[in-house]
Symmetry: C2
Subunit: 429 residues, 2 copies
Amino acid sequence: MPLAMPDGYRILTEAQVPAFLAGIPTVAERLGGGPDDWRAREVGDGNMNQVFLVHGPAGSVCVKQALPYLRVVGEGWPLGLKRAWFEQMALRVQARFAPDRLPHLIHYDEMLFAIVMEALTPHRILRYGLVEGLTYPALAAQMGRFLAETLYGTSDLALPAREKKDLLGLFAGNWEMCGLTETVVFTEPYMVHPHNRWTSPQLDGVAAAVRADTDWKLAASRLKLKFLASPEALLHGDLHTGSIMVTAEDTRVIDPEFCLFGPIGFDIGALLGNLWLNALAQDGHAGPGASRDASREAVLTAAEEIWTGFRTRFLARWRGGGTGDAYPAALFVDSTGTQALEAERQAYLDRVFADALGFAGAKITRRILGISHNMDLESIADPDRRALCETRCLHLARALMVETHRFGDVTQVTAALRSLRTEVTRAVL
Amino acid sequence: MPLAMPDGYRILTEAQVPAFLAGIPTVAERLGGGPDDWRAREVGDGNMNQVFLVHGPAGSVCVKQALPYLRVVGEGWPLGLKRAWFEQMALRVQARFAPDRLPHLIHYDEMLFAIVMEALTPHRILRYGLVEGLTYPALAAQMGRFLAETLYGTSDLALPAREKKDLLGLFAGNWEMCGLTETVVFTEPYMVHPHNRWTSPQLDGVAAAVRADTDWKLAASRLKLKFLASPEALLHGDLHTGSIMVTAEDTRVIDPEFCLFGPIGFDIGALLGNLWLNALAQDGHAGPGASRDASREAVLTAAEEIWTGFRTRFLARWRGGGTGDAYPAALFVDSTGTQALEAERQAYLDRVFADALGFAGAKITRRILGISHNMDLESIADPDRRALCETRCLHLARALMVETHRFGDVTQVTAALRSLRTEVTRAVL
């Protein structure tokens, strides 16, 4: 059955991109010269879209076009094009709160479902750098702040209810992308499903143990319900280390096509979980004379600093005077009131922390047992060694999800993770 | 400044109603004869709309038209007409789950913002009956079931995520009505505000004590945040005893113009809170030789049965196999899994109960200290006696909101309420 495509939509080729861009004055100006001088190269390595880098005499731009199917699977898995509209909309909203951490949006083409944006150079995908053992000194502070600004800024603490409901109504339309998350993160990894794969036969027993672990499945299901019905703020929705581009000085968050109003802890947990997974994968990349201890510790420190940076900034914003409709400041003006409100803020952030830990565990689990894996682990050539790293990840994931309240502080997660490196020596849960 | 009105909108008069209805074939058929045979009478006693009862030779209908301002205040408080659209939309959605408990929707006029529906006869507003001391034997079972069916049916337990998000997006547009609730229920009663009034001077000290009570204000603010950001199900949004019409055998829920996706406990708490307020107001209506003990006990029993009926039915629906995306049944098929899921269901309902108690307290408080009062208390002529009943209500409200977890079961609320009748003998908190 041929895919239904809206009128005017066509899948751009490298050769067609210059003519498309020539019709957008601000792009022509940025690239310099004319369309004959522009070269487009398809560089997409994600699962769902095509991405062109376009260079002209004066500069470059990036064109991201949604394809009507899941690229990694092919036309057999159709996927709505409108995710591109939600992505550019999320970029616009996030830019109100953290413009420096995003690619600059230049143009959105409604007919081609194509986003034209700043080409980020010399940035590269954070995940690739971390897998090589590189460290990024600006990352933690910039990501902690990005999370605080975008999540606080779109919460009921900052947004008047009308404005939040308008946005909520808008982003509710991105249900197809959310449906993918609901399925591949919270459901499939915990059951027998043809989408799933894992390092086999090493993890066969571990995967079976997860599927038989009622507490774990219950934790995943509670998190799923939270994901479905707690629209606390506008989330990126897929904030792993492949959605972040970096240099030593600069961090940018890309690809918010899974955006939704959801629980604040989901974005934070996605990032922390991916960092913790990377930290436990570092042993798989170490070799004789090539210790990864420093890389691992740098990643662990980054995770701690992202959380503390987020928490500090979020609290500072809230203390600065909530402009939203939650916790009306007028009710807490005397000294008893201000103290109680401050205790409430701390409890709020403690709850977000617990949520983040749970979601981090869910994100780790699905990268080992579900449909979509990470090169942090996938690129460990020796399957026995990979399976051992993965087993340690799953031990951590279970603790984060099922025994969340063991962790009163982010440093306790770091400590638990370090212990797992020595305690877990076999692929058994 | 004249109110902005959309093209084609006009405020209907009694004389104009027959001609309006003549254009709707199903209505003409229902009324019989022709427009000259129809008599319309405006009977609206609410705050916001006009309501016509229209009688013809063969039958009758009810016409509810939104006015572009808050009727009880006048043109100085403009209010969007589109609430009528949301009301008819809520009636349509609720009718999928509990058609027998609603007025039958006959027609919606987009231009006049007018709903034409079944005229409920010989039903009367529940509140008026309760104030007279009447009892309604069918009420509790029918309302418990109405709450269970509509709230379960629109939750993530029953609705696939896509369908729920479509509805969520739709109803997010009813922000103006939600904004009224946010303000007059959760905020204004706890501060000095020109909208507020109370039995003065008797309750002056009590009102001041509430405004100084940080724990109470914190509880109200937590509930407000839950109201803002927990879209668990489609709520009626204003389910007090004035939104229910009854006969001895039949119960109908009307006026869902405050509808929203919100926390399940809000609707339940609204109804329980109004019943508990009525129970504590019965002493104000007793007289020599006219005990209200039986009336009060009947109301208390009804409140208990509404909760237990709701809980039982909600659980039965869920056990019957969730068709929504939360708690995928496939993850909990073995005996450990089914037991754990059952424990989770019980915990879910325990949490809904705690929410309901908190919201009940908020609803009671606002009816005594806020803008909008209830005739249950207002019609107690002696202000000292009224103030005493109101003080007991506020004692109960505070306990429900601040010490929620004192109440493990609905019978414990009943017991606490009975104790307050003897313990509280002065208007002091």
